[in-house]
Amino acid sequence: MMIHPSLRSRPWAAGSCALFVLLLVLPLLSGCGKGGGAGRGARVSVKGSDTMVILGQKWADTYMKEHPGMVVAVTGGGSGTGIAQLINGTADIAQSSRPMKDEEKAKIQEATGAPVEEHTVARDGVTVYVHTSNPVTRLSLDQLKGIYTGQVKNWKEVGGPDLAITIYSRENSSGTYVFFKEHVLGGDDFAATAQTLPGTAAVVNAVMKDKSGIGYGGIAYGSGIKHVGIEGKDGSVVEPTEATIKDGTYALSRPLYWYLTAKTPEAGRTLLAWVTAPEGQAVVKEVGYFPVQ
């Protein structure tokens, strides 16, 4: 190293290098314990899916108006984040747009001594959108898979103009990402060229400004872009509507979940009961998702 021979004449440099060595060594010696979560009163924290944040907040607003004294705090960060916090005990309820993985369920069991409780609170259709100037109006699931795995690189291969496709995707912390990966890509990996953006709103924004762009996201977020119809198995185009999402003919529909654990306070359970009752389901419609029967 070039700085070494001159260290003696520069005490501060020697000092900071010593500090650096100390920094490297200290972790080997340390092994601090971890703090536990704190208890809460009539306060329920709901965390998780970015897709469900709007829905969760609308639920919270309506519920708090009807039940003064209750505080429901809703935050996003991604389904995985919410589930991780449910495991850590920093969230009472996790909102998730994907089903919980087995290892996550095992962690809940380990942390609380009881299995996690899964509730479907709404249904959502993931829609695919392109720039308004793009003439492509329909895509089959195979074509979508080709585009997102990088095999289909040009719009002309799927009936569009001669233009390289720019793929927009979500960060891998997103439940929508996982849903798309499983239901469209069949578990395959996204193309390395897929640009990942934080939040569905950012994807919508990018597609809005990019003639060659294609993006996907929850149905509640679709303005300023053009939705693409998805071809069903028989080749007919299915639009994402309440009927097609409820009966499953729209290929990209999914349930939205709430997860509770044995440690979720009573207030959280009352909230869940309200959310699945007609009042809560009315809010679902209002926000643009689809109620569960």
Partner: protein, 312 residues
Amino acid sequence: VIPPPLLARAVGNGRRRIDRLAEVAIAVSALLTVGGIVLIFVFVFREAMPVLFDQATMAEANLRKFFTLGPWQPVSDHPRYSFVPLLVGSLKATVIAVVTAVPIAVLAALFTAEFAPRQAREFLKPVVELLAGIPSVVLGFFALMVLASLLQAVTGSPTRLNAFNAGLALGFSIIPVVYSVSEDALRAVPRSYREASLALGASSWQTAFQVTLPAAWAGIFAAVMLGVGRAVGETMIVLMASGNAAITSLSPYDSIRTMSATIAAELAEVVQHSPHYSTLFFIGSMLFAITFVLNVLAGLMVDRMRRHLAGA
């Protein structure tokens, strides 16, 4: 009545006690600052350690995999953790930022230190330093919404969000620090240098470029190092403006995924203490080490210049 000598001694004792107290207070503050940094690093490195020592983690994520060419695909049935696209991404963004920002910042510093009239100098420096106060998220937002469309129209690049866009925005964020430290370095060159040069018949242009600038080169190098350190670690701008696709290529018009943006985007999701989690912390340790080395280099250079000028 206390005799005057004793009184003086009592007052002296009191003063000494206050001195002592102040000394302790200052020492404690210094220790707290250093201690904070130490604790942060201890935490980051400890979380990264399984990558080096834990067999189960190493089966999936280890040093050899990190540094062999491959994709960055941590959420997959077959997770692959190659740092190569991330390193290339960080490097591309940093090089573009430095190449665009350093000439502007150094020339601006030269103008401020050598040519600007006094009022202009007193106005210029604080205003450029004020640039440093722009939150990086605002710069990133600007790059995402405005700069990207503008650059795509000019360069005709197929991807809107790319390394060039992110690098330019990053350049904005490092101009203030490079400018400010360079200006200080130029101002530190003794008047006698300039006077000697002018007395020998050199023009003020020749003096600035051939006398002052070379005399301050170590300080300017330090400024550049600090700028590079800031650019490597900057997160929000690249997260918003670069598209975040982990592509290994040399083209500035491809999207990039930097090390810092990867941590920001993925840390929220990972299962604690999974290989992915440890890998992200390992990237954090690497970033810490890189900026540490850059800062030490910058410090050494400033020191060198100071001693050089003092000895002359």
